[in-house]
């Protein structure tokens, strides 16, 4: 049984034409997958369906064999990390270190454990020098890396990244790619939603293309 399973997924917005049609997909824990397609083809919608943030018009999404909606949102987030298209939407702490440690403190970890994890993540994503900075004042690339660090601090089993390379220059893209390679080396699978084919080719073993509402591999 795949970790994430999409069965006959159909989706349309109210009063809209069908956006996704008969989508079947199986994702295993260590898969590195790219989901590509042109703007507006439904990539982000498919990502939100995987996370259970949207409900399909038809079909079902299973997470570890159970319908994704059966898990409370917090539990889903712990198992599948979700990095938003706009990282600003998921940053809410007053400092970079607090951002990474925020959710850990609510897991009952003691302060030494939280501190160790925060240091590990800041080092992994090269954010040590920015640990006291206000997250909103970081560059776009740093915000992307911080959002990823904060999500990975929870040790999710899988990560979904929505357009992580948008707005990044080649240097920052390379840094993000290096960070994602490290994620893969830790045995955590991911799906990258993007239209940046070069970036995806470098990082993913599988490529899925969404076109005309259908998914092709």
């Amino acid at each position: 049984m795949a970790f994430i399973q999409l069965e006959q997924i159909n989706f349309r917005w109210p009063q809209g034409p069908p956006l996704l049609r008969d989508i079947n997909l199986a994702l295993n824990r260590q898969d590195t997958v790219a989901l590509v397609g042109s703007n507006g083809c439904g990539k982000t919608t498919l990502g939100k369906l995987i996370m259970g943030l949207l409900s399909p018009t038809q079909g079902r999404v299973l997470l570890d064999g159970r319908p994704v909606g059966d898990y409370p949102l917090a539990q889903r987030g712990e198992r599948v990390g979700y990095v938003f298209q706009n990282p600003e939407k998921q940053l809410f702490a007053a400092s970079v270190a607090d951002e990474v440690g925020f959710a850990l403190r609510h897991r009952g970890l003691n302060s030494d454990q939280v501190e160790a994890k925060v240091e590990e993540m800041l080092a992994l994503f090269e954010l040590e020098r920015r640990r006291d900075a206000f997250p909103f004042n970081l560059s776009h690339g740093e915000k992307q890396r911080l959002a990823l660090a904060a999500v990975l601090a929870l040790d999710p089993e899988f990560v979904l990244l929505d357009e992580p390379s948008t707005g990044l220059d080649w240097l920052r893209k390379r840094k993000l790619a290096q960070a994602l390679e490290k994620v893969g080396q830790r045995g955590v699978g991911y799906i990258i939603i993007s239209h940046d084919h070069g970036f995806c080719r470098q990082l993913c073993a599988r490529t899925l293309t969404l076109e005309g509402g259908k998914l092709y591999e």
Partner: protein, 247 residues
Amino acid sequence: MSSAFPDARTLIIAVVILTSLAIAINNPLVLAGLLAVTLLALVAAKIPLGDFVRRFKRFRWLIITLALVQSLTNPHGQIYWQWREYILLSSGGLWAALAVLLRLAVILAGVQFLNRKNYQELVTGMVQMKVPYELAYMVLLGIRFIPVFMEEFRDALTAMALRGVDLEQIPWRDKLRVYSYILMPTVAGAMVRARRIATAMEARAFRAYPQRTWLEWPRLSRWDWALITSVMAVGFGILALNWRGII
């Protein structure tokens, strides 16, 4: 140039009179009549009532709280429920609660009339009513920002839950701290967006010259004048009767 009937000014005047009546009148029976007339007018104007129902549902907790407060702070008439010397439920309290419910319903329904006009038409209408352009623009921009602000708040809640923080499970003292975290991206996001809009507007020469050129400067039709006159006559008539204590 004459605009499509009704003009934005006609709708603004109608909404101002309707909301003034809703605020001034305390009698639930008159308020119920006012609500019925407003809803009929919405149907006649082909404005879907579903929007009003959705808005009413969205504010239901605020409305219920206000109604409860009114009920508790107006303890007179027949007493239905009393605990020691405190009157918890009385006919006066229920009457006051009903008045609040109906008052808010009339206001929420009345505002729906403005949905018939787009944002530019409303700004033009307000300027034609001698409201300074900057003020009219700011008011409407502010109103437009409310749903954006609410969406940012919802996004922040989702983002927090996706980090494994279950707001329903955490204790109350921690909940307050968590909510203070949510305010940060919401307020910061709104400020960043406001700054961007201000820059974009100035880049397009907003307020660069004392006079503006208007693409459309509609004139009131005879139907508009008729509607404004009738709404004002009926509105002031009801207010006069209310002040004299007749209704």
